[in-house]
């Protein structure tokens, strides 16, 4: 297949194209040719999604990914090089021009794309992402690291993605925003929930997103007496959703044919499916949110056992 990028390819533009049926993730099959020639502006989130799709297809049937690099798109392609788009996990078939990029330093504004596979990578990756974004305010950077680690843990623990998760982040100083993206090409939220017999009734992707945003809901099913390496509380997405809502941010979740947007709280049906889950978060650089307080509110309906931990003064 040949994919011709539009002149502007950001995550929101990618969603708009998908809504019109002009971007179909499942069409990225076989021999793939990427035409960057119209591209003048690329967002890291959208390109991380493309990278995840290429890696998924590469694993199934190793293709060569070609891209004719035209003069007018050199700036955008250089930017992609800085974002680590052209790494060796994909078998690239590059034109001579494409092989001669000048690499610029990445510090200060963005975190190049990272491919993660193991849960023990979460801490270091979330730290590195926050460090790359150089956010001076300690409370804001702590909240960002918190949210990132929850989302990365989610992707690595639940997606069963054979190519792991791709993560990236960028700070837009003039807009006062930070964009974070975590994408996998695994079983999706519905596939994960259905692992738990309690949630086998979840019939479609829309219902799956609504269910997954409910606190204490998880597809991780612990059989009494069985020891899992990791289990979980089913709070990662709920906390992230609340941080986005209270902090003036926006959370997008695209899994299968369902898309959730935290601003409206609505889940819509997409004409095309994402094979796995994409989480995109746009947050203000300054985040005055105490996540502990957010978490503490998730217990109204529960009977709490009387446990008092011993804290020494």
């Amino acid at each position: 297949m040949r994919y011709t990028f539009p002149s502007k390819f950001t995550f929101l533009e990618m969603l708009a194209l998908a809504r019109r049926g002009q971007f179909d993730p499942l069409a990225f099959r076989g021999q793939i040719e990427l035409d960057f020639s119209p591209l003048t502006f690329a967002g890291p989130g959208a390109m991380a999604c493309i990278k995840a799709l290429l890696a998924r297809e590469q694993r199934a049937l190793p293709p060569e990914v070609c891209f004719p690099v035209e003069h007018q798109c050199q700036d955008a392609v250089r930017y992609l090089e800085r974002m680590d788009f052209f790494t060796s996990d994909i078998r690239w078939c590059m034109t001579p021009e494409g092989a001669n990029f000048i690499r610029h330093p990445s510090g200060g504004r963005f975190m190049p794309m990272r491919n993660l596979h193991q849960l023990h990578e979460t801490d270091a990756a979330s730290r590195e992402m926050v460090r790359c974004l150089t956010i001076a305010d300690k409370e804001s950077s702590g909240t960002l690291q918190y949210v990132l680690s929850e989302l990365i843990d989610n992707a690595l623990q639940h997606s069963d993605s054979p190519t792991g998760a791709y993560v990236t982040a960028q700070k837009y100083e003039k807009l006062g925003r930070v964009h974070l993206l975590i994408v996998d090409t695994g079983i999706g939220i519905r596939g994960h929930l259905q692992k738990n017999p309690r949630y086998r009734h979840v019939a479609d992707d829309l219902q799956a997103i609504k269910t997954a945003l409910t606190p204490f809901v998880t597809g991780t099913h612990v059989v009494p007496g069985e020891q899992l390496e990791y289990d979980n509380q089913g709070l990662g997405l709920s906390v992230t959703d609340q941080v986005a809502k209270r902090g003036g941010g926006v959370l997008y979740l695209w899994t299968g044919r369902a898309l959730y947007r935290s601003q409206s709280g609505q889940v819509e049906t997409m004409p095309v499916a994402w094979p796995g889950t994409v989480v995109f978060l746009s947050l203000p650089i300054k985040l005055a949110i105490n996540v502990t307080d957010v978490v503490k509110e998730f217990d109204a309906a529960l009977k709490k056992p009387q446990i008092q931990l011993k804290f020494n003064k």
Binding site: L119, D153, V222, N290, N312
Partner: protein, 105 residues
């Protein structure tokens, strides 16, 4: 005998933000308790612990090793860290409770 676990020496960072990190501390603590010790977990230098990490650490101990809770104490906890640990301990059973009470089988 009393064992002191310095969390910052185990993890070398001021934030505990992934399930894996919670697991590393838990395994160290359970090992010490099973050797018959009382354990003091020193959180000096730790500013942040996520709910997932706290659950993987103390939530799992409440679920799987409730008999050792009385032998554990915590020191030098920042307020948010103490609050999150306490919350995770109280909500260790929240998932199964939610499944029992709120979702039809």
């Amino acid at each position: 005998m009393k064992t002191i676990i310095q969390v910052s020496e185990v993890l070398h960072e001021g934030a505990i933000t992934g399930r894996h990190s919670g697991r590393v501390i838990r395994e160290k603590l359970v090992h010490a308790c099973h050797a018959g010790d009382t354990v003091q977990v020193d959180f000096a230098g730790v500013d942040v612990i996520t709910q997932s990490a706290a659950d993987e650490f103390i939530g799992r101990i409440v679920r799987q090793h409730p008999e050792i809770i009385g032998r554990i104490s915590f020191s030098n906890c920042a307020t948010d860290v103490a609050n999150m640990l306490q919350w995770a301990a109280e909500h260790a059973d929240a998932v199964s409770q939610t499944e029992r009470e709120l979702v039809p089988a």
